[in-house]
Symmetry: C2
Subunit: 322 residues, 2 copies
């Protein structure tokens, strides 16, 4: 089967997004190495424009659409893709409509509006999001840019791994959070091409382990949108992302909610970085599965940092109470 | 009067500390530029080893002492200098004793012990700190390394400005938090030499404006250790730092407690960086005195990020209640 995206697609996306996205640094911490028993190379996509890796995929897709003459884009998104699409649309001079569950964090809604997009609230179900978004597209003539199940999105997200493996060569393994699988699929394609022997792992909250179960079952098991603190990882895999993950991932490892908050706190206190819970799941998996990574050089994607500061006390006191 | 330190001292310190300290990046944010009305270039010393710029001064001083044959060092410190000295001592194979007010944040005490130093608790007054530290030195033969009023410390801290002006040239102004004045004095000497016309400003909490009042009075007015949230900026100026500040600073600008927390939250949400309240005072001053910096290219030192995660809820909900 021909792959949905190739390494060349990721390289082309890297060139398209360069004017619109940061090349984030690679960060290390002796303390976190000691705590994990591995040698960790963090890719802090919380420092990316719009506060998450989603800027890459959105910029990649919008750039293609703008070149083809599109005038408006729309999407449904728990937040980070929405903000990223709003940013990319404005950067390319396109209008943007973003359908957001009414329950999404205030900080994410503010970001979307701050980038000049129109916000459309809906019920927090996939059905409501899709229906509302289809209506918006029909009404405005906007092109739908889905959050992850699209080749240009996947190729854009893959640039995370492209940069990481260029800046931190000779990695033994890569740990990538899995929500819809766009980041993970793109990263797998880029990493496998640059470093054929690299071991590739997905990372999921145990509460939202639909991707792990999907890989085990050999077909997509839809997410039930569980109430994990990692709100960016609640979505189901897509028809395009699933086969890529199935081809490349050695395993999908999971971690419980307390482990996610512990890793989030470690990132705050050791790396001095603000990450959202979803962004901490990679490190959380490393802490929870130390034996799998002992002594290895491991790349860890910190996927985003859009967390409402007023919730930080709650997250860290929840951790202390647990 | 001969200056306490020269530009050459800062350059020599930069060479000494290179193996032990990070060269921190320069970060920018379009949103914070829009909010401040200036063009901001942040030097995120929260990403420095030990979580603050204090690593530079401590590494500079310990390096000189180690070369001279010292076997142990001691200090009294609200926390960041203590952690930095512990780190630098261990890196150079020296023993380290740190006198800390019993009221210092837990995260700072943990860091000091984590770097292998012996922690000695005392009352939270300058007198108690000095007395206890003198006793420790007498008892152990350790050399006192003061937190700021020492040429090697000041030269080490000055490397912050050296790097910032190398990486972000043509700055119109620099805003530097002032506690004891070590960072500010070192930065002034480096900045004035590299960029003679640069305008230099100190930044203080209005509650702890002893440096502003000292400059106005022409002599050191001791701090009364006020209860500002910016716990790193409660100390008095030193005999060595004061004349340097008096020579170079155009002004010391102050900001109220709510302004400090607002800036801290902006740094969390926009730069995705964990800063302690003291580390946000530079940006807070820029927000509070927009008219002084309109349209200028301004370097802003984010001095540190050692904040107890369990206090974040308190800081950010305090801001909302205010």
């Amino acid at each position: 089967m021909k792959s949905v995206i190739t390494f060349e697609d990721v390289v082309a996306a890297a060139a398209r997004i360069a004017p619109f996205c940061h090349r984030t640094p690679v960060m290390t911490s002796g303390t976190l190495d000691a705590l994990s028993g591995a040698r960790l190379f963090f890719k802090p996509e919380n420092l990316q424009r719009t506060g998450s890796f989603k800027c890459r995929g959105a910029s990649s897709a919008v750039s293609v659409l703008a070149a083809a003459g599109a005038r408006a884009v729309a999407t449904h998104s728990a937040g980070n893709h929405g903000a990223a699409l709003a940013y990319a649309a404005r950067a390319h001079g396109l209008a943007c409509h973003v359908v957001v569950p009414a329950t999404a964090p205030r900080v994410k809604k503010d970001a979307i509006e701050g980038y000049g997009a129109r916000l459309v609230l809906c019920e927090p179900t996939l059905a409501a999001r899709e229906t509302t978004c289809a209506a918006v597209c029909a009404e405005t003539g906007a092109t739908l840019v889905p959050p992850y199940d699209h080749p240009d999105i996947m190729a854009g997200q893959g640039t995370v791994a492209l940069e990481l493996l260029q800046d931190a060569p000779k990695l033994d393994a890569l740990v990538i959070p899995v929500g819809g699988g766009g980041l993970c699929a793109g990263a797998c394609v880029a990493a496998r091409a640059l470093s054929p022997g690299v071991r590739l792992f997905g990372a999921e909250p145990a509460l939202a382990d639909d991707a792990r179960r999907s890989l085990a079952a050999g077909s997509i098991i839809p997410s039930t949108y569980p109430d994990t603190v990692a709100d960016g990882l609640r979505t189901s895999l897509g028809e395009l992302t699933f086969p890529v993950l199935r081809t490349h991932l050695e395993d999908i490892l999971t971690v419980d909610e307390a482990g996610i908050l512990e890793a989030m706190e470690s990132i705050y206190t050791r790396l001095k970085l603000v990450v959202e819970p979803s962004g901490a799941v990679g490190l959380a998996v490393l802490f929870a599965h130390r034996e799998r990574f002992a002594g290895l050089r491991v790349g860890v994607v910190l996927s985003g940092g859009n967390v409402d500061p007023s919730r930080l006390g709650e997250f860290f006191s929840a951790r202390r109470a647990s």
